[in-house]
Subunit: 229 residues, 6 copies
């Protein structure tokens, strides 16, 4: 299916996406059973960015960013471009001009399993980009890949229309059909965490809050008074 562009995709509901964005990567990842997290080499080009949106998926080849140009045409406002590469590569296939373009087309952010160039102007634009490297290495426009077919990006399977959530902790993918359920689970988790945070802040121990002492003892944990030296 190389050489294929799918123009239209299903997208999750806007409200669901907004909830997932507010919850952030760590909570969403837990809420969907600790799955869907991209590998930790995916880092924001600038710290502090935080987005969620519908994945428009792109498959490129090493040193070649042609398909990103093709993908620009099918972006809708609120989308997040997710660019996979057919083998490991850090070339700078995305930079200021493409950032200008996808921003003009309404994209909320870009996820690159390749390099990003123009780190300074992209930081100044405050356009959110996550990438595996920062590299000025230029790319060619020679090989067809795909747009809006399923890809594997930074170790995670991404289907077009899945929800992408990204912040300083990295990037997590929520399958579209699970998005509402995950958003709800995340909100519940958030509430519990707020209670626990308050108790922990007062000096209570997780050992007690999470009721761990019995399990630890059952496993055989033993305490020694010490010091040993």
């Amino acid at each position: 299916m190389s050489g294929t562009v799918v123009r239209n995709i299903h997208r999750a509901e806007t409200a669901t996406i907004a909830t997932l964005e507010r919850l952030g990567v760590a909570t969403v990842h837990e809420a969907q059973g600790r799955s869907g997290l991209m590998q930790p080499y995916m880092r924001p080009v600038w710290r502090g960015a935080s987005v969620a949106g519908s994945a428009v998926t792109v498959l490129c080849h090493p040193g070649d960013n042609w398909m990103i140009h093709v993908a620009c045409e099918v972006l809708k406002p609120g989308d997040v471009l997710v660019v996979a590469c057919s083998s490991e590569n850090t070339d700078g296939g995305f930079g200021e001009l493409l950032a200008t373009s996808v921003k003009a087309r309404g994209a909320r952010g870009v996820i690159l399993d390749l390099g990003c160039r123009d780190a300074a102007p992209i930081t100044e634009m405050k356009f959110p980009v996550w990438s595996r490297a920062i590299s000025a290495k230029g790319t060619v426009k020679a090989s067809l890949g795909s747009v809006n077919l399923p890809v594997v990006c930074a170790g995670v399977s991404v289907k077009p229309g899945d929800v992408v959530v990204a912040d300083d902790d990295g990037v997590v993918i929520v399958p579209r059909l699970d998005a509402a359920k995950v958003a709800k689970a995340g909100e519940e988790r958030e509430k519990k965490e707020a209670v626990n945070r308050a108790r922990l802040a007062k000096g209570e121990l997780g050992l007690d809050i999470y009721d761990m002492r019995k399990n630890l003892a059952d496993k055989g944990l033993r305490y020694i008074d010490g010091p040993l030296d």
Copy 2:
């Protein structure tokens, strides 16, 4: 000794720890004969943090942060939690809730030979954390490790009560019994460096200040006027 917690440890003197903190990683590392420095993959979650404290050591297993919860109970104000892992792993075994907890218990910072999640809130809290990665990957609470037994963390042997010094340059460990001696050596080094810095700032050469010319000549260094092309 897996499954063991030592409640009490010896600690270095507060004044010594304060001196080591002020001296910083690079000076302390030199002052103790260029030893004790953790591998350079250990990076601060946010730039500008700087701490020193007594090591409370933890051994976890990959993908499992149970022992960090156990360690919270034996922390004393001024301590620095040092978390080793039994094999290479970047999962996010420490995040905002644990940061809230260890801070409430008085810890001054955390050193993780694993991943850290919740990078944004931890940065906002200004709680000092050094880790090998930033990753939202969740962890389980299933396997016993140890607390306050000797560990190897990021290539360095750490005994409970050793002094941990950490800043933007990384993390260095000072054996507790050497701490006073190292602090003193560091202060002497600091004085010498202040003099040399002033001379270098005026344009004097290290070649002259450190009296290197004869050694270089003895080794056979030769000068050519050039240019060669």
Copy 3:
């Protein structure tokens, strides 16, 4: 030729260097045919630095920074020190004192295919340094290398007097004799990009601006309306 220092080198014209600095790494790299870019592990010690200058080249050995001291003497105002290492090493062979020294001698920046220590004071000094790592690991002064002979630094061949351009995107080397030509090509590229940026910002597509549709069709790209699921 180990153990050799060349005192004098040819340098590119100041105006050319200034133009290359303004253009920045990404544009210069493209303007000289996508060559000369150091590997992307070379990162600025602090974000936002941007310099260009004539390369004074140094070859060190792992864990040994002696030749950097030697190189200080042959630096001229406007130079950029480029330090290669005879094998992969991250030890902190350059820190605050050497930064003070090379700054006093007029150097505009330093490129290290080794580690940099004293990240905090160097950031405070706003002295521009790119390195493969931040590490406090100290070095010795025991082995001769070379100054102002050709080196390979971070994957790029550098001859003394070549122009070094460095910013948040990394480091690119322009051969001295090509510098004027590359500067001119870069300025032309800059003008074209300004026009394209404006068009892209209005929402025009790269597909149309760069006239890609026919090539894509010739290669066999096919569009499907979708959604597929």
Copy 4:
């Protein structure tokens, strides 16, 4: 869906699998349009192994091999076990005992995106295993994963019943429904290659056999007689 085991899966036809095995990884990968290849860190525990079979997929967690034991029960003769891990880990979750077990249940080989222990006895058994590392590091049996649900293994999406082909070149996955088509395309490719190999062995050039000269000239390739130095 963590904590789920699917007992039965569809499998490709035996004859198709046999053809794909004979063709080998490189030919199969090309025949399906250069897709499906696992990352090159996946290496055989011993050189010379070569297998194909139906994927029984397993998802484990770092340092935990419990689900491999669970998977043994649903293996059918001719299957290949494909073990993914929820984050990067090299612990030795598979060794001689499990090799004995899966071999007894008819498995033809094992693909591990984690470590393999007992390299010597597995080599002696001539049981084919590919892994990301060789490591004796033991694992626990504490966390549920899944068996026969889709996984991402070494950068490739694998669904249960997909055909796994593995040899000294690595591991490639052929989607089950494409297997017959890919086998056929591979056989055609093989025939063409046999002809070309014979011509190349006589000293004919790829430039002529593949008719590249015109394309090269159109792109602007120019020849210089040289030598240049």
Copy 5:
């Protein structure tokens, strides 16, 4: 303590060492509670080597093998040289001449957290060496380290006289005072494994042999008949 050589060390009993050698790395590592295993980047220069012996520990600096020469003098027959390095380095500090020397002095093998050169003659000599890399890169003799002081090698703390066990699975360290106990535990493990191996070879499942079904059910594992697609 840099610049120190300890001439004499305590060693474990010969019979214990012989037992540990026969048991091999994987069994020994399990028998001592899954600890003491060096990182998996430590690989044999040639496959099939297998040794155990008393550790003579060396600390070198990057690019400098001087202390290995010093260590030769304190080697006793049956020892294994364990060479740590003060920072990450792959230079070839050990080759055919040193192999000839340590073999003549009775060493049974060498563990290098640096590079090994002369891979072909060392393979021909059948002298057992484990290293982090194969590299011809030469080293200098300029900096003092230590011999027979505790070191951290490939992530493991090694004291002089500890028992080193190494084979195709890697390298494991057994603290000297634990050696007899670990040898005994390993032999018991070996017996159990022999029984289990026989049962597994007949097709019995680990699920039943290790009685896992109840635990899996308690954790919530559920079975689906499938196929799902």
Copy 6:
């Protein structure tokens, strides 16, 4: 100069090349002052290969092997193809068919700063190849690079006609004009090593043979009888 092929190059004398081949990588690297060694990630596809020859240099782009086909035409018997890549990439740009071709044209071996596919048939052919990876990943023929211009390959500057020496220890480059001198220095080194090897084999210490005791004492090395524990 991208898009340029130089047809003819100067080559070193056959006898010199033969001497360098016999001496091997480690000796040649030392004999030319510890320079010219490629990074240690360059490994032979099969162990035991050993070659020397004149470098025909190729620059490819990631995922593109077009220029290797172009280079075949300018190979002369005895040459070694040296393939650099404009950024880090492991795609399998060289396999059995190209091996057949370059062998038919008289090449003695191939050095690839990219991946090699068809590891099994190349091993069977006993055609010597060194590469940074084994990978079946296919490549395209879309971008011009160069043939017989200077390149940087695996960290070393290589000019066409330089002598390539490769064996199990890796790959070293000898500048053509230095080849005779280096061959002679290598032969002298070889003689000295033969004498030293014989002395070391008898149990004499390098400390005495190389007269190191005084230097060690001058540096401050001190001996303690021990044991310390």
